[in-house]
Structures are given as structure tokens and as C-alpha cells.
């Protein structure tokens, strides 16, 4: 198709959406290049799912334009639906149907004949390691198996663009890992993926680039490393003995950073300029100041840290937790 050309797989320009008084999305711009994985990061209620629903034609934006594979999500919705796959956090499979029946149904709804849909279903069950469970109702499946089947359902028509809405939320670590491997294989085969997640490690592992969304606004874009750099690298966390002098510890650690250490109870935190030797230096300084230490570690920034750094006090606004 000529319209496909070499333009990006997903192009979002100025998309806004409100539910009543609540602004779910505010002027979001986003580009996803073909064959890449972009992670849409943000806390619950940030607007990630709303954006995915708009891009998969389930929801109409109030304003702005969005194209997937050159097709407008509103005007060309019918054609677009033939070329995208959606797997959601709620594992949308019919729990009273078997794995094979689910996939066959989806295949037929894509317009395939029963026999072809069934053959494709078997192929996918094999690929997703669900052959033994093929003829069992999916209500007997584990959470991880359901997610795999849900993902398989999204792949029935071999879509070039795949939307994954929090694909591993609520899964145990092993299921998460196996789902990650499946997604990595798809990407290696050239599928473009837009992935929403609350976990930085998931984005770290899967995504080429990350877009951070909060309160419906896109607040940062880049690789996960770039985002972590913006947070200010690594941080030293020191847990003091219960009877230790917190102020003495803060004074002792202050020279290690451009920023003043923060203290909360017996926990003292300080961003460090240089990773190498930071722990040794901290132990040395604290023992010279005669402060008792219970535990001490260097911590990589988490999504929470990225958020705090990018949004300032937004973390408090978002969680609605009252200040003590």
C-alpha cells in the first residue's frame, strides 16, 4: 500500500480526550517508528489506556489526529482494524470457551473460513506453549496462560502493529519473563509495538524508547537511560541505627553530593555523583562521624524517582495521599 511508505507506524498529533470534567488526555503528540517498541509509562489513571483505546478505534478523541500505518483512526477505522492487534490487561478471552475455540472465533471474525481459522489457532497455541490446554475452557487457565492466549488472539491476523495494554500487570515473575520473551520474538520479526506499563524494568527490557505520561500529558520522551539520567543517576540510601544521630549523618554525607541529603526517620538518602567507591566513602565518613549504620545501598532510579523528578510534586497530587 502506497500510504504505508516509510512513514512512522504511529503518529499522534494534539490528541485530547475528556470524560466529563476529567481531562484524560491533553494535546498528546507521539511518534512510533516502524519496527520499534515504544513504552508508554505512567501511573494508574495517567491516560495510557485512553490513548491505546483511541489508537485501536475503540474510543473517539475529542480533538487532534491519530494515524496508524497511515490510516486515520476515525475515518479509516474499518480498514485499520484488519491491521492491528490489541491485547489488554483484562485478558479478553471467553472463559467458557477453550483456547482453540477462542482463537478460532477470533480468526473467523477476521473473515477467515472455519478450517483456516482453526489451523491458525493451532499454530498459535503451539507457539505460545498452550497445546496441552488447547481443549480446556480458559477459566481453568492460570493468569499467565490467559495472557498468552490473549496475546495469541491479538496475533491471529499477523498484525504489523501491536498494542499491549499493561501486558504483565498482576503476573508472577516467571509468567512475566515468558511473556517478555514472546514479545521480544515478535519484535525481532518486525512487529511494531506500543506497550503501556507501570514498570520501568519492563520498559527497560522491551522498549527502544519511552514516553512518560501523567495527568493526560506527555511529560517526557527518550530512552530509559536518558530518563534515568534526567533523574540524576544513582542514589545512596543509608538506614541508620535506631539511636543514631541523624543530623551528624546528614553532615557527614553532604560533601558527597551537589544536593543536600534528605532524612526521613532513620533513612538518609543522597544522590551520588560518582558510583565507584561511593559505598566505601560513605562507610568511611559515617564511621568517622561515629554514626551507627544498619544498612547501606546504592539504588538505581525507579519509575517513582523518574516521576518525582519529572513532575515535581505530582506524585503527591496523583496519589491523593494527605501530608502527615
Amino acid at each position: 500500500m502506497a500510504a504505508d511508505g516509510d512513514e512512522s507506524a504511529i503518529t499522534v498529533r494534539g490528541v485530547s480526550k475528556a470524560y466529563g470534567d476529567v481531562q484524560a488526555l491533553v494535546g498528546v503528540d507521539l511518534d512510533v517508528a516502524r519496527g520499534t517498541v515504544v513504552g508508554l509509562l505512567g501511573p494508574n489513571g495517567a491516560g495510557k489506556t485512553t490513548l491505546v483505546r483511541i489508537l485501536t478505534t475503540l474510543l473517539t478523541a475529542d480533538s487532534g489526529t491519530a494515524r496508524v500505518l497511515g490510516l486515520d483512526v476515525q475515518r479509516d477505522a474499518a480498514r485499520l482494524r484488519e491491521r492491528i492487534g490489541l491485547a489488554g490487561q483484562y485478558a479478553a478471552v471467553d472463559e467458557n470457551l477453550t483456547g482453540l475455540e477462542n482463537l478460532t472465533m477470533v480468526g473467523r471474525l477476521y473473515g477467515a473460513k472455519r478450517s483456516a481459522a482453526k489451523a491458525r489457532g493451532r499454530e498459535l497455541l503451539e507457539r505460545f506453549d498452550l497445546v496441552e490446554a488447547a481443549d480446556r475452557p480458559t477459566k481453568t487457565y492460570s493468569g499467565g496462560m490467559r495472557r498468552r492466549l490473549d496475546l495469541a488472539a491479538a496475533l491471529v491476523a499477523e498484525p504489523p502493529v501491536l498494542f499491549l495494554d499493561e501486558p504483565t500487570t498482576g503476573l508472577d515473575p516467571r509468567s512475566r519473563l515468558s511473556l517478555w520473551e514472546v514479545i521480544e520474538t515478535l519484535v525481532a520479526e518486525g512487529t511494531t509495538v506500543l506497550l503501556t506499563t507501570q514498570y520501568l524494568d519492563e520498559a527497560d527490557r522491551l522498549a527502544d524508547a519511552v514516553a512518560v505520561i501523567d495527568h493526560g500529558r506527555l511529560i517526557a520522551e527518550g530512552t530509559t537511560d536518558e530518563l534515568k539520567d534526567r533523574v540524576g543517576g544513582e542514589r545512596l540510601e543509608v538506614r541508620l541505627d535506631a539511636d543514631a544521630d541523624v543530623q551528624a549523618a546528614v553532615r557527614a554525607l553532604a560533601p558527597m553530593s551537589d544536593e543536600a541529603p534528605s532524612a526521613e526517620g532513620t533513612l538518609v538518602q543522597v544522590p551520588v555523583r560518582v558510583r565507584n567507591g561511593a559505598i566505601v566513602e560513605a562507610v568511611h565518613r559515617l564511621s568517622e562521624a561515629d554514626v551507627g549504620v544498619d544498612d547501606l545501598a546504592l539504588r538505581r532510579p525507579t519509575l517513582d524517582d523518574v516521576f518525582l523528578a519529572l513532575t515535581g510534586h505530582a506524585a503527591e497530587d496523583g496519589s491523593g495521599e494527605p501530608a502527615p
Binding site: T56, T57, L58, L59, R81, Y90, N96, M105, R108, P137
Partner: protein, 253 residues
Amino acid sequence: MRRALSDTLVIAERNLIRLPRAPELLLAFTVQPVMFVLLFRYVFGGAIRTPGYAYVDYLIPGIIVQNIAFGGFVTAIGLNEDVHKGLIDRFRSLPMARPAVLAGRTLSDIVTNALSMSILLVTGVIIGFSFHSSVSDAIAGVALLLLFGYAFSWFFAFIGLLVSSPEAANSVGFIAVFPLTFISSAFVPVASMPEPLRAFATVNPFTVVVDEIRHLWLGAPHGSLWGSIAWSLGIIAVFAPVAVARYRRAAGQ
């Protein structure tokens, strides 16, 4: 158009495949109506005067109409679950015909209604019911019942999309339909009711349809085939559009 039909059939087939795997639903339209038939026939039957007919002959058309009107609750519960479990999202992300989800749903109700009607007729015959009419009239009665049941499937489709949980769908449907079926000629002659109820019962679509079934199956007077068809089509004309509108809204959030 062909695509719309085949998608509708795929959805209807899916609804029927899953039915035997939800035993509580299966019980609701097999064992429960049989229980009702036996209770009415043997507990109330002796005390109810139905001039000109044995009570079992009078009862079977009434209880089948009641039962078939309730048949749509499978649609209410099923649609409600589909919305909450994300299946509607899945369907809407597929290049399938838009109306197929609701059309397939109500279509599969016709099959389940036919099944439960057969169970009731067999039970009826065992306890003494018999047709007093031609085969063609008996079949016309069956067809009318399926149409009336289909009309209520659209009512239940609307209810299923309106309320927040399958349980609520069930009880709202029950509260709406149960009094309608009892304040009608389904179980007792309308003439035995006090005035305000009798007036209501006379215009109640259940009375219109039950009387017509008795006309077609037993040769009773006072039936109105066109009245019955008009009620059925009227119910579809009201509830199909609101159900479709509700589906679009429920799915667009």
C-alpha cells in the same frame, strides 16, 4: 451484508458453545420451568377454575409464554459479562460487522428458547396436556412464541447493557417481567381479578399473546394474531434501537 450474517452466526455459535459449560444457566432454563409447571399443575391447579378447559391445557401456553419472555435473561447476563470482561473491546477491535454482537446474542436466544419450549411441551404432554388444533396452527403458535421471545431478548439486551453487574441484570429483568406475567391470563382467567388489575391484564401483551396461543393450540376464542405480532414487533422497535445505542455508549468508554 454477507459478512454481517456470518459474523452474527459466529457470535451466536460462540454463545451456544459456552452455554453447557455454565451449568447454573442451563439449570435456569431447563429444570426451573419444569418445576414451575409441576407446582402450578399440582399445587394451584386444583383451586383454579378454567371453564371449558382442563387446567393443564390452560396452564401450558401460559407458562411457556412466561418462560420464553424470560429466556432473554441469558442475553442480559451474557452481554453484561462481555462488557466487564473486556470481550466487547476485543470484538470492537476486530474488523467484524458492528451489529453482529447484539444480533448474534439475540439469535442464540431463539435456539435456547426453542430448547426450553421443547422441554416444557414434553413435560406438559407427560402430565396430560394435548393440542386441540391442526398441526399448522400448532406450528404457527410455536413460531409466534419464538418471535415474542426474540422481542424480549432485545429488552434484556438493553437491561444487560444498562446495569452494572450480571446479578443486577438478572434482578432488574425479573422485577420488570415477573409482575407482567402474573397480572395476565397466563395462570388464571382475567375475569377472576379485581377491576383495576383486570383492566391492566386485558391490555397486557402477555394476555394478548397467551390468548392467541390458546387459540392456536386449543381452539379457544378471543385470540388476536395481529395483536400478538404487533406487540412483538413494537417491543423490538423500541428496545432494539435503545440497546444498540447503549451498546455503542457502553463500548465507547
